[in-house]
Amino acid sequence: MKKILILIAAIVFFAIMLSACGSSDELTLNVYNWGEYISDGSEGSFDTIREFESWYEETYGQPIKVNYDTYASNEDMYNKISSGAVSYDVIIPSDYMIARMKDEGLLLPLNFDNIPNYQYIDESFRGLYYDPDDEYSVPYTYGVVGVIYNANVVDEADAQGWELMWNEKYAGNILQFNNSRDAFATAQYKLGIDVNTTDTAQWDAALEELKAQAPLVKSYVMDEIYNMMESGEAAVGAYYAGDYFTMLDAQAENVDLRFYYPDPTNYFVDAMCIPSCCQNQELAEIFINYMLSAEPAIANAEYIYYASPNSLVYDDQGYLEDIGEEAVAILYPGVEDFSQLYNTYAYRNLDSDTLDYINTLWENLKIN
């Protein structure tokens, strides 16, 4: 009996030592990022966090420990940060969340003297609406929504514009977003309505369009789109360009997935920021600067498969060859002035009255 008790005590002691050690006087940096959103050393890739630790020790002669945590949505991250119970040094929210956190004083202005690599961020990614004076954020990835279709079912001639998602020939084969904002946007882009309008009549018009589409829709989906498109269960759906390649990798034998951009369409940017709970701002800026340098930036772009706003990445021959011609053409559609398109067509935070109105319309659609 005594032996068992001693054994348990020993295990507890050992476990506590294991978790407590290493936190003595070592520098620590707390990074909070989306899940699966950094090159992590899997499948032989570059292990960004470990490489940063050894790079920092070599450069500054001091060991550092990076605590890397992940979140599932902007709202999850926002709740943790705004509760004041945690302290992260670097976070990577999406555009609209940056605007909100900035307005609520949850972000610190960056000292760009510590981020010289910011020069490699393309000019057209500056002055975006969520951070018009480029004080709080450094773009990490961006993406564009496109239409994915199965070429074995869909006629090549029909594959253009948002009209494909309303084409009666493919009734029962079409997937629509199961998220009010994204679903309404497809109708609004099709009708040429501003996605950030506060005019309720225009939202009504978009609703009519979605109602007309409803009998053709197989189901309203988010993540389920991967398996449904890969297996050929559905033939038409809109999603992000980078995610199209995930589906392409896993498509079944009798499925031939293709992709195109309707015009206009939706854009998003995820950017690195420093929250106001940061404990060591200079260290956080050094980390952001490191993320912008060639090797990690290229590795992350290859791992995440979203487009990078960093010229060290999209001008790198090795990177372009690695991802292949087709991916280059799709990920970097060669828009002339990204900031102008982005500021026109990206979602913004709507006032709560409009949001309530949209939600009522959305429920109305889902009930019928």
């Binding site: 999850d76 297996s231 896993a250």
Partner: protein, 280 residues
């Protein structure tokens, strides 16, 4: 069994285990897809052991589960012994109910209230970050405790109360009587409680989600956060491994339980025989 009940049992078994079987099969899939099985491969298991962040999350989860299980077992056993000694019937009922509250309370409420309390106390002491490994450990001990009590208390009630008394009669100190006589008698309950606490702590998501601090992420939280991109088959491999570990633990627990009850029955029989001899 009648054919109808056979069919019914089979159906229930299928509903219970089909998801696990699918997960198991696809963890050996060569490709990334969930719709196409392209060939047997250990590729995802190899990838799993190269993913340092996931392994770190596994380590965190295990450290937390071992600590929480050990602490809640010691505390829970002590609490059960105390509750069992209460002579006042009403007080007994009150204690029973109070200890059951964390078990019946919806997890999300336990999680939020614990987080609020940690933040409040943290602010009171002016700490920059109030959530850490320790807050998470306190939270896990909190929800594991009632399960341990629930396992140990019936064993104490089954035990013949005159056993420790006899030990003390023969010169044992109360402490010695407790360790030499009571503990061996209720050991099956303690072990079951320990294993239950361990598995509960291992797979808890909701409470961990609210009480996790920076730098200490557990596996369920990490898997949940993978939904921006798809969950990779690495996680199927990990889930398969965890499933078999838990299965092994359950088997051990059930075996030790039946061993224990057999031992107790044998001891009772012996005692009866002795009594019978003495009366002659």
């Amino acid at each position: 069994m009648k054919p109808a009940s056979k069919v019914f049992t089979a159906l229930i078994m299928i509903f219970l285990f089909a998801p696990i079987v699918i997960l198991l099969v696809f963890s050996f899939n060569e490709a990334k897809s969930l719709s196409v099985f392209s060939g047997f491969s250990l590729y995802w298991y190899r990838e799993l052991f190269r993913d340092s962040e996931t392994l770190n999350a596994v380590k965190n989860t295990l450290v937390l589960a071992v600590c929480a299980a050990a602490i809640s077992t010691v505390m829970g056993t002590a609490a059960a012994v105390g509750i069992n000694k209460l002579r006042n019937r009403y007080l007994h009922a009150v204690m029973d109910t109070v200890t059951n509250i964390p078990m019946i309370n919806p997890e999300i409420i336990t999680g939020i209230s614990l987080m609020l309390m940690f933040v409040f106390v943290g602010r009171l002491f002016g700490a920059a970050t109030s959530l850490s490994f320790w807050t998470m450990l306190i939270a896990h001990v909190t929800f594991c405790l009632p399960y341990v009590i629930l396992q140990v208390l019936p064993k104490l009630q089954q035990m013949d109360a005159s056993l420790p008394e006899a030990a003390m009669d023969l010169g044992c100190t109360p402490l010695r009587a407790f360790f030499k006589v009571e503990i061996p008698e209720i050991l099956p309950g303690i072990i079951t409680g320990l294993i239950m606490a361990f598995t509960l702590s291992l797979d808890d998501f909701v409470i961990s989600y609210f009480t996790a601090g920076n730098g200490f992420q557990t596996l369920p939280i990490r898997i949940y956060s993978m939904t921006k991109k798809t969950v990779t088959p690495k996680m199927y491999a990990l889930a398969t491994i965890i499933f078999f570990v838990i299965l092994a633990l359950l088997l051990i627990s059930n075996l030790s339980d039946s061993d224990g009850s057999r031992a107790i029955k044998a001891a009772r029989q012996k005692r009866k025989n002795l009594k019978a001899q003495n009366s002659i």
